[in-house]
């Protein structure tokens, strides 16, 4: 520990020099995005180097770079406490602790997973991030497992990360997610007789295409739409599958393809003058700060004969039904006429036979009214 304290003081002295250097290369300080990107690149490179060289890396120069990066990004109100470098075997990422910067563009989020008491199970959480974020992941154990304190490990993929925060029964790590390499799965595991773990999946937002194929006809126009709900992508790109490869659709082919966006979250691809060859798979890709996300759409181009057959079948059926109904009506009318003639004949006969009684009956009936 005393050694690292000395190291700290050395770092602090070096700060102003490095500040200047970074300031010159980073472009206008008013452009936080650019700064962040530069910083993230250098940080990324440092991190990857650290991951690559597991055993032999000396943390100190790397952490210097890290510190400097954060210094240029953050505002002057940032209070930096430099973390301790780890002396444990294997490589550990030193993560820095810092307070929330109110003037910063980067958001700070905290996610917590509650570890279940059942062994062999794992809790999974999907976290969707579309822009650079500071994130704190923590795992909390039930009080009855407090005897397992010292055996909680955090991992990214297969590499172990040292936790920063430890309260009574929760362990957490803080991460700066600045580009796609930081994304992935982070897990915390409690090792004992039982294996209890929680996994955090950091992902880019998913975009919606259409699962069912879009059906259109030769010579017609087809419109394909992709939507990103909630998160605004930086750019949209469309790909068409040609054989086994995917070709990006160039907006220059204006007679065939028209790419338009009604809003930043929605993109349309209009294909004009469809032919059979346009049948196939299309991909729309949304580029976010932290990666790309794709969705698949399928287009089917039919000829006009396809719906024509059911159409003709149904029309024929309707005509046949109408004809049958009319024929039945003519037939039943003929039957009715025959029956009526017979009935009339009978009635006249009846009247003739009931002559005198009939007159009295009818008048009596009428008077009753």
């Amino acid at each position: 520990m005393p050694a690292s304290c000395l190291g700290e003081s050395r770092r602090l002295l070096l700060l102003p020099l490095l500040l200047l250097r970074c300031g010159l290369s980073a472009g206008s300080p008013a452009d936080p995005a650019v700064t962040a990107k530069d910083a993230s690149h250098s940080q990324a490179s440092s991190l990857t180097k650290m991951q690559a060289g597991l055993l032999e890396s000396s943390p100190e120069p790397m952490t210097t770079a890290q510190t400097v990066n954060w210094q240029t990004q953050g505002s002057s109100s940032d209070h930096l406490t430099l973390g301790r470098s780890v002396s444990a075997p294997g490589s550990d990422l030193a993560t820095q602790e810092f307070k929330e910067a109110t003037k910063d563009n980067i958001t700070f989020v905290k996610y917590e997973a509650l570890l279940p008491g059942v062994s062999g199970t794992s809790v999974e959480k999907n976290i969707i991030l579309d822009s650079a974020t500071r994130i704190e992941l923590s795992c909390r154990l039930d009080k009855k497992y407090s005897h397992l304190q010292s055996q909680v490990t955090w991992k990214k993929g297969n590499e172990t990360i040292r936790y920063i925060n430890k309260t009574e029964n929760s362990w957490s790590i803080k991460l700066q997610i600045l580009d796609s390499s930081n994304m992935g799965s982070y897990s915390c595991a409690v090792k004992s007789e039982e294996e209890i773990s929680a996994e955090f999946h950091l992902q880019v937002p998913k975009i919606e295409g259409r699962e069912k194929p879009i059906v259109s006809y030769g010579g017609d126009t087809a419109v394909m739409m992709c939507k990103s709900s909630g998160y605004t992508p930086i750019a949209w790109t469309w790909y068409v599958t040609n054989g086994s490869e995917q070709m990006a659709i160039n907006a220059s082919l204006a007679e065939k393809y028209v790419i338009s966006s009604i809003s930043a979250n929605v993109t349309h691809l209009k294909i004009l003058k469809l032919t059979e060859e346009d049948d196939g798979e299309y991909w729309c890709e949304a580029a976010f700060e932290l990666g790309e996300s794709r969705a698949r759409l399928r287009l089917r181009v039919l000829s006009f004969m396809v719906p024509l057959k059911p159409f003709l079948a149904i029309v024929t059926e309707a005509v046949i039904l109408v004809t049958l109904i009319f024929l039945y009506e003519i037939y039943s009318k003929k039957k009715e006429n025959h029956a009526e003639d017979e009935k009339e004949f009978d009635q006249v006969e009846q009247l003739k036979s009931e002559d005198s009684n009939g007159l009295e009956n009818s008048s009596a009936r009428h008077r009753r009214i």
Binding site: V215, E329, Q347, D355, S356, G358, L359
Partner: protein, 526 residues
């Protein structure tokens, strides 16, 4: 007995045992069965298409929006135009039915629907879609809806509420079949192919129309001939008794001849579309009550699924609510028909109608209290029940008030008046939702409007029933007085006055036990 006397007896028997030319309004006794059930089946198909086609059409909106790059409100105009034309085309429909009868009109309507949808399959702009789907198909559906309802009144009298209930039950059945069918067609054939095939499916309206065998004209003309023969023989024997006995038969003959003599402009128009209905008390009550009711009738259905999604229910469960509604509706309509036909309810059917409207309103008022999915399911069940009850009796009550002969014109006039409020209802609800950000005000508005309409109808129909019984008594008093029967003019005037007042067929139904003749005379008096 002399030959003459025999002929008199024969004529009398014909007149008194068969249907006389004048009875209620129809001129014959409706069969109440037989081919009538085939007509009900055809009517349910027609009515089903007319009511559910606009609703089932909404599946295509998303795709059409994307293809033509238009907003939702622009695409929603298609169904608005369709609904407006279906209801607004009512008077034209009535005029055509008055002139040509139901069958040719329905078949032409079916053809028009088919042509509209087939031409819509080849449309290249949204304006063309408005015309093809909106106007042409909408007008075709109008030519389907009114004649189907009219012909039920011609085929049924005693069992008319059941027939009406069954015919109106076609609407939810058709909705349950059309909606998944539309989805299937759209997935397999895209929107153009679907329109083409829907055009073919709509041709089945022609099939339904073929079932509408004309009645009244055919059978009545044959009997008219025989009665004319009888009339001639009676005229030869100028005796007071013979005159008295045959006056019911004579009166319409002479009235008709007089009518032919003095056909002025008003009467000519009234022959096609009976504007004199506006002097009819019952008709006016029905008109005002229904116009008010439709302001809050359709909006809750339109907004039920969005409301469900708003309070956090997922899309499929929200759609399932509508299915529950349709299924309950399907069962409620024929059941209401059966109940309305029972001897306790039929004489007071207007009260039953007002009660069902108020019940509907009460459901809407209680809806905001429903919390969670179970609450909404309960609401859907009661709403489906109330909706079915109102729809089943919608046309039955009008027929009951104005009588079957004038119903042709009445239905046309009523639908064009309702057209405005039907179209205004959902947008007003939508504005309420947008302004307050909360769905409960829309439900409260709909509920309040319907409860108000129900109460209005209840009170006014109570007044109407009282007036009718009073007029009944006056009429009976006059008829028992022998002096009035002698003067044909007075008798004819009474008959005319009664015809204008119309009135429910209470008489024949109350005294059914006395047999057919009593019923004939009873409707005569009406």
């Amino acid at each position: 007995m002399t030959v003459r006397e025999r002929k008199v007896v024969f004529a009398l028997k014909l007149v008194l045992t068969m249907s006389p030319p004048v009875s209620s309004d129809l001129g014959y006794i409706p069969p109440d069965g037989g081919w009538g059930w085939a007509v009900v089946f055809g009517a349910s198909i027609s009515v089903g298409f007319a009511y559910t086609f606009p609703k089932a059409f909404t599946i295509y909106f998303k795709e059409l929006q994307a293809v033509y790059s238009i907003s939702y409100s622009q695409i929603a105009w298609i169904t608005s135009i369709m609904c407006a034309t279906t209801y607004g085309g009512g008077p034209i429909s009535s005029i055509l039915v008055n002139r040509y009868g139901s069958r040719p009109v329905v078949m032409f309507g079916g053809l028009l629907c088919g042509i509209g949808m087939v031409s819509a399959a080849f449309c290249t702009s949204i304006l063309q879609l408005y015309i093809c789907v909106g106007f042409i198909t909408g007008f075709g559906l109008a030519l389907n809806l009114q004649p189907s309802v009219i012909i039920i009144g011609k085929y049924f009298l005693k069992r008319r509420p059941i027939a009406n209930g069954l015919a109106m039950a076609g609407s939810p059945v058709m909705l349950c079949t059309l909606a998944p069918l539309n989805q299937f067609l759209f997935d397999n054939f895209g929107w153009r192919g679907s329109f083409l095939i829907l055009g073919a499916i709509l041709l089945h309206c022609c099939v339904a129309g073929a079932l509408f065998r004309p009645i009244g004209a055919d059978t009545a003309s044959v009997k008219m001939q025989k009665i004319e023969e009888g009339k001639e023989t009676l005229k030869e024997e100028v005796t007071k008794d013979a005159m008295e006995m045959s006056s019911p038969a004579n009166v319409p003959m002479e009235t008709k001849m007089e009518e032919e003599g003095e056909k002025d402009c008003c009467e000519k128009i009234n022959q096609y579309l009976d504007f004199s209905l506006f002097k009819h008390r019952g008709f006016l009550i029905y008109l005002i009550g229904n116009v008010l009711m439709f302001l809050g009738f359709f909006a809750p259905i339109v907004f039920l699924a969005p409301y469900a999604k708003h309070i956090g229910i997922d899309e499929y469960s929200a759609a399932f609510l509508l299915s529950i509604l349709a299924i309950v509706d399907m069962i409620a309509r024929p059941t209401t028909g059966i109940i309305a036909n029972s001897k306790w309810v039929r004489p007071r059917i207007q009260y039953f109608f007002s009660f069902s409207i108020a019940f509907n309103g009460a459901c809407h008022l209680l809806c905001p209290l429903a919390s969670g999915y179970t609450g909404l399911v309960v609401y859907s069940v009661f709403f489906g029940l109330a909706f079915g009850m109102v729809c089943a009796m919608l046309f039955e009550t009008l027929m009951d008030l104005v009588g079957a002969a004038r119903f042709t014109s009445a239905v046309g006039l009523v639908t064009i008046a309702e057209c405005c409020t039907i179209l205004l209802g959902p947008p007003i609800g939508g504005t309420l939702i947008d302004t307050f950000g909360d769905y409960k005000y829309m439900f409260i508005k709909c509920g309040a409007v319907m409860v108000l309409a129900g109460t209005f109808l209840f009170i006014m129909n109570y007044y109407n029933y009282r007036m009718l019984t009073k007029e009944e008594k006056e009429r009976k008093a006059k008829e028992e007085d022998p002096k009035s029967v002698r003067t044909e003019n007075e008798g004819r005037n009474n008959w005319n006055k009664e015809a204008t007042q119309g009135g429910p067929e209470l008489e024949p139904l109350r005294e059914e036990q006395e047999g057919l003749k009593k019923e004939v005379n009873g409707t005569n008096e009406v």
